[in-house]
């Protein structure tokens, strides 16, 4: 409760810093630039040490999970869990796609932290837009789909860190390929990967009934389902849970939860998305639910 006055102040400060941290489009994959400033997290600090005796739930994704202080759902997630039994580590970074998070070495750092018994929540899509892979492909996105095709492109601004450091060409793969690599890497460390559907955007196309209905799929749903099926990972469908809530709120109230743009939420919207992830984890009977704090009334 005491966190709200603070977080609303923090929210406005965070809006100011969006040019640096918030917008997915501000960051071009393959051209890392200077390290991004990370504001203090009001929930669990990004650099909070993990208790080595406990399993850890890692969140790997983009600005919808971690966006300034308190604007991503990953910073509202730990309070649902019994943190005497599990660590919650939000390792999402604003502006990243499945490809750019790997290219800059962020994933290597998470892999180094992973230990057997940990969990990795993977959520990509907002910055992954791409198209057919051709030799002229150099956008931040990936090849559309889940296939094995790839293309080599020249690296125009060299990486100083990460797997591409010192390289002059990058092999660009599909959305599916990157996700399969996350899954395989996590499993190789004895951790359990879980694939989340992408957060819902505040976009309301007209439905066949002549009424606006919130967008439930920004184009990755089928890919996520295919990846989950082929790799046998649980698909945590938080998008449907969140969309059901927004649909009940209606266009006007939902808009209050998206004060920045149609992708990024307020702190309250982030809290709602975190709750939707919890609901989706329960619905999928994901093993991490064993670490949920018992329902003892309000969890805030």
């Amino acid at each position: 409760m005491t966190k709200f006055p603070f977080t609303f102040c923090a929210a406005s400060a965070a809006v100011l810093s969006l040019a640096l941290t918030g917008f997915a489009s501000a960051q071009v994959a393959g051209t890392p630039g200077p390290p991004l400033p990370v504001p203090d997290q009001t929930n669990v600090r990004h650099d909070a040490p993990l208790n080595p005796n406990l399993p850890t739930i890692f969140i790997v994704g983009d600005s919808t999970a971690r966006n300034g202080a308190d604007l991503g759902w990953g910073d509202h997630f730990a309070h649902y869990f019994d943190t005497t039994k599990v660590n919650v580590a939000n390792r999402a970074i604003a502006g990243r796609s499945a490809r750019s998070y790997m290219n800059e070495g962020a994933w290597d750092k998470v892999v180094a932290e992973l230990k057997p018994g940990d969990y990795v929540l993977l959520q990509w899509g907002h910055n992954d837009g791409g198209g057919p892979l051709t030799p002229s492909f150099n956008a931040r996105g990936e090849g559309k789909g889940v296939g094995e095709e790839s293309v080599d492109i020249p690296i125009t601004r060299p990486f100083t860190t990460g797997p591409l450091a010192g390289k002059t060409t990058e092999t660009v793969h599909t959305y599916g390929w990157y996700n399969r690599k996350y899954i395989a890497d996590a499993r190789a460390k004895g951790a359990t990967p879980l694939l989340l559907t992408v957060t819902v955007r505040n976009i309301w196309p007209m439905g066949p009934d002549g009424k606006p209905h919130i967008e439930r799929d920004m184009g990755y749903r089928d890919f996520d389902m295919q990846i989950a099926a082929s790799e046998k990972v649980p698909l945590i469908d938080m998008a449907t849970v969140a969309a059901d809530k927004f649909e009940m709120l209606g266009v006007q109230t939902t808009a209050l939860l998206f004060p920045i743009d149609h992708t990024h939420t307020s702190p309250v919207g982030a809290e709602m998305n975190a709750a939707s992830v919890v609901t989706a984890l329960k619905s999928a009977k994901a093993p991490v639910v064993q670490y949920l704090a018992p329902v003892v009334g309000p969890t805030k």
């Binding site: 409760m1 809530k245 009940m248 939860l257 919207g269 329960k282 329902v295 009334g297 805030k300």
Partner: protein
């Protein structure tokens, strides 16, 4: 405090053996009230904006004139220098009609981040859906899920309009979404107990726990990781411990509505259920109430029963045909008495 208007209506209710569900009757002639003075927080008392607020949203069992609903007694147990207690329940309402009539919009406008909302629906949710001959059109579709039924309303705020009626679960999920979107915390309460006794195999009389609406509430709470404050087994244990004859004194109006004393005891049941749930709301209590023997066991039994009945209670039956003749005008037939 005693110059407080719903008094007359309550006195009428008390005097009447037929008045039932809720719609507070208009006072025709002044009647000397025999109810004790309001013991708790007047409904229109301003809320201290610096404090969190516990809202009560429900029907006549929580708010039935001064003193007859448990929500009017709940403030007695909380330290009102630390928390506001705001009883926003309205007699006669269902989860649907509280929204249809705009009451939810008014309450929602008061709710701020960090507040708590106790939701308790069911007593009036089994009424008719409206249409020709309907008296109050407050029922919703049974169960949970996306089923809807369009009904042209003959009475009420949507008179003359085609209203899309949703399931009981849908309305409750909408309350949850609206509360979460305010940064507040929704919590469910099981329904209050009816003074209705049935013998078991050994001939011992028992009161029944609601298994029609409770399992849907319990399921929504479970899915959303929200508190389900199970006051019903607390109340049932108390009633069964004193027996039918004495417990019936708490129900002088009908088998749903309590006396002021019954309402006070129900408020205590809510507090005890919060204690069993280890709710963080306990930090706002003046003092904890002792948890009576057998209540924790009864609560576990109740939860097992709720979980076991989720599937049955979630089913929405096929649409009911609109009534072609006016139903009986007998106001004594309680809407919740007849299973649909």
């Amino acid at each position: 405090m005693s110059n407080y208007r719903p008094y007359l209506a309550v006195a009428l209710l008390l005097a009447s053996t037929t008045a039932l569900m809720a719609q507070a009757p208009a006072a025709a002639t002044p009647v000397v009230p025999d109810a004790p003075p309001q013991v708790s927080v007047p409904p229109k008392m301003p809320l201290n904006p610096a404090l969190p607020t516990i809202f009560v949203v429900g029907d006549s069992t929580a708010s039935n004139g001064p003193n007859l609903g448990w929500g009017s007694h709940l403030g007695n147990y909380f330290d009102l220098t630390k928390v506001n207690v705001a009883n926003r329940a309205i007699a006669g309402r269902s989860s649907r009609s509280y929204m249809d009539e705009g009451h939810w919009d008014s309450t929602l406008a008061e709710i701020k981040a960090g507040d708590f909302v106790l939701l308790q629906w069911g007593q009036n949710d089994g009424s008719d859906l409206g249409g020709p001959g309907s008296r109050n059109a407050r029922g919703d579709l049974r169960g949970d899920g996306d089923a809807t039924q369009d009904v042209t309303q003959a009475v009420g705020p949507k008179m003359g309009q085609l209203e899309t009626i949703h399931t009981y679960g849908w309305y409750n999920r909408k309350y949850v979404a609206d509360i979460l979107a305010k940064g507040a915390t929704p919590m469910f309460l099981s329904m209050t107990i009816h003074n209705s006794w049935k013998p078991d195999a050994a001939g011992t009389l028992h009161v029944a726990l609601d298994m029609r609406f409770g399992p849907v509430m319990w399921k929504i709470a479970e899915e959303n990781h929200l508190a389900f404050i199970d006051m019903a087994p607390v109340e049932a244990t108390r009633m069964e411990s004193v027996g039918k004859d004495k417990a019936s004194l708490w129900f002088p109006i009908d088998y749903v509505h309590t006396s002021p004393e019954g309402a006070e005891l129900n408020a205590q049941s809510v507090v005890i259920a919060l204690e069993i749930a280890k709710s963080p709301l306990l930090k706002y209590l003046k003092a904890p109430l002792p948890i009576p023997p057998d209540v924790e066991t009864a609560t576990k039994t109740s939860e097992t029963a709720l979980a076991a009945n989720v599937a049955t209670a979630s089913v929405t039956p096929p649409p009911r045909p609109a009534p072609t003749v006016a139903p009986s005008t007998d106001v004594a037939s309680p809407a919740t008495a007849v299973p649909k």
